[in-house]
Symmetry: C2
Subunit: 342 residues, 2 copies
DNA sequence: CGCGGCTATACATACGTATTCACCGCGCTT
DNA sequence: AAGCGCGGTGAATACGTATGTATAGCCGCG
């Protein structure tokens, strides 16, 4: 019942050719004549033959596999993967499949020496890093990857030193679009909620775009309208409390992430402030919960599909060509109820 | 700079032993003496040696890799993976790592013949199926997997015919807990929103638990209090419209999924019905948006971590022992504002 | 008519590991 | 004292593929 798996020799015998011809026929080598190739393909089909990935990889000294590495901030349980990363998953897998690669997935703590593992054991030909921002702590790790000649790309702003290729959203433009939109619906005192810590380099770019939009309308950014917040619901509520506690007046909020925006929305609603009538809100990311909130949250949508595909393309470019160029992806303003004109 | 990768022969030379001894030492074979093993390990460490996965797999005729197969309902873009599946991802990966396996990830359309691919090409030793419910259409596929001797497990209620092992939540108990809770906070007319179509076999079990809770309190389920809905926000709103349109009175809703519950909540709020004062709501799944809704949604939490680990354990059991037992996981009622006692 | 050049295929080999078998030396038994 | 078992190791080999090199057939041209 579980008979021996067919090998290329079985196909060769059935098609009346030699084993090397089978290999060449299946890999599209042009030195095989059309009739022969057809016979081989038919035989392979008939026996349900598939190339053995281990043998093929061993012979070619590669794996035709990419490794996807999520970095975990949270120590233990961490079902807390950034939802945007998860939405890239599908597109990445599909892109890999299209290009003939498999995708291996892994989580890693900062401390462990994963760098050796993937390429050294030939599990993967390259690595996609997700969750490694511009944190300085990672620089030595990236440095080591470069030294070892490991191919990798990472998601996020390029930041200071440029190790390998990078794929990221155009955060600056997203910040510009969000603030410009709020200005267009008549808001003048726009609070910015997001941290300036280097832990979230994206936020800096979003703040930069925010400022550019203000200046384009002849206004100057007001530091008092800025509140620090990490990407969490509580942090968003705290930021609103902070602003109000300091007696700052505002008729709009641009939050550097959706969860922060939702937290801010809850805090305002609890205080009886009508959204969007009294305060218009725009977030960033377009997480699933954004369209489910009430009112539905306006936000800057990142191109998850484009991001996933770009990461895969860049990595394969690095593997097959030796180096890859970085990519910056356009973003898109999605206007929902939370910022509709009154 | 990118010098040749060290092989077990290099380690052997450095440690002053033969290649087979290296292989034995690294794989924990007890016939290697302790001093020798120590020398080998030191040499491997020094040269940064890792076993070549392709060569090892080829020799042992296995891959030490599991394949995770998402089934896609939506045809094209589909960033629409069930969020619960995504929350299982982390735990699955971790469990795999613990047990010495890698995890390969893939999406598949119903039509394609993926079944041949993974085990036939020895990319994976077994398959975890996610999103293959009890749909009759899948029976032939599962049948074929069984015939080919492919190891697999799937998520979801076992359903009719039992192909391979299954891991699922205790949906019946979850339904019971939800309804019992609503009864305890004084509700008497509890609407059930969820479909009876076989496409969502989980819903049937949740309905069953709902009925059991009612009967345990001496009440009989009322068919008029039941509205059909698929798991989508619009469908939840439509279900509320349906109930009200039929003139049905209710003071609580148990929705068979969170997105439906959130839709229902929005519909009621738009009509000015206070939640939970006039209508208490409990959902099922505990998606991230549940805790972000306003009011935060009470729901039945599924054990994503346990689920992920159980799937991996079951599959490895099937691979290494030849067969695996199915597993049913306990669920947990999470009470939030949407069903607090008035 | 013979030879160069070209096409299509076969032959031989290497990739790095795990495992079977044979071997060696030592201590113990009879 | 000779035989035997056994712990520890090395030699040889097979896993299935891809590729460099050799060879057979064939055409055209001088």
């Amino acid at each position: 019942m579980t008979q021996r798996r067919p090998t290329s020799f079985d196909i060769a015998a059935l098609a009346g050719v030699s084993q090397p011809t089978v290999s060449r026929a299946l890999s599209g080598n042009p030195s095989v004549s059309e009739p022969t190739r057809a016979r081989v393909l038919a035989a392979a089909e008939q026996l349900n033959y598939k190339v053995d990935k281990n043998a093929s990889g061993l012979r070619r000294q590669q794996s035709r596999t990419l490794a996807l590495l999520f970095f975990e901030e949270r120590s233990a349980d961490g079902a807390l993967i950034n939802p945007f990363y998860l939405s890239m998953l599908g597109p990445m897998v599909r892109k890999c499949a299209t290009l003939g690669y498999d995708l291996l997935i892994s989580f890693q703590q900062l401390s462990s020496d994963w760098h050796v593992d993937y390429e050294d054991s030939r599990k993967a030909d390259g690595i996609i890093l997700l969750g490694y921002g511009d944190y300085l702590e990672y620089q030595p790790l990236l440095q080591r990857l470069v030294e070892r000649g490991t191919h990798f790309v990472r998601w996020g702003p390029a930041g200071g030193v440029q190790f390998g290729a990078t794929v990221s959203s155009d955060n600056e433009q997203g910040g510009f679009d969000a603030t410009q939109h709020l200005l267009q619906v008549g808001r003048r005192r726009i609070a910015f909620i997001g941290t300036a810590e280097p832990a979230y380099p994206e936020f800096l770019d979003r703040w930069g775009g925010h400022c550019r939009a203000l200046r384009a309308s002849g206004m100057e950014p007001d530091e008092r309208l800025r509140a620090d917040a990490e990407p969490s619901e509580e942090s968003g509520r705290a930021a609103v409390a902070d602003l109000l506690g300091r007696g700052v007046e505002f008729d709009a909020i641009f939050a550097a992430s959706d969860v922060t925006a939702i937290g801010a929305m809850h805090a305002l609603q609890k205080l009886g402030r009508a959204i969007p009538q009294e305060v218009a809100i725009v977030g960033f990311d377009d997480i699933p919960a954004a369209s489910l909130s009430s009112p539905p949250l306006s936000t800057v949508t990142q191109d998850a599909r484009g991001a996933g595909e770009a990461l895969v393309e860049a990595l394969i470019e690095a593997i097959e060509l030796g180096a890859a160029r970085s990519r910056v992806l356009p973003v898109h303003l999605t206007v929902r109820e939370s910022s509709r004109p009154a």
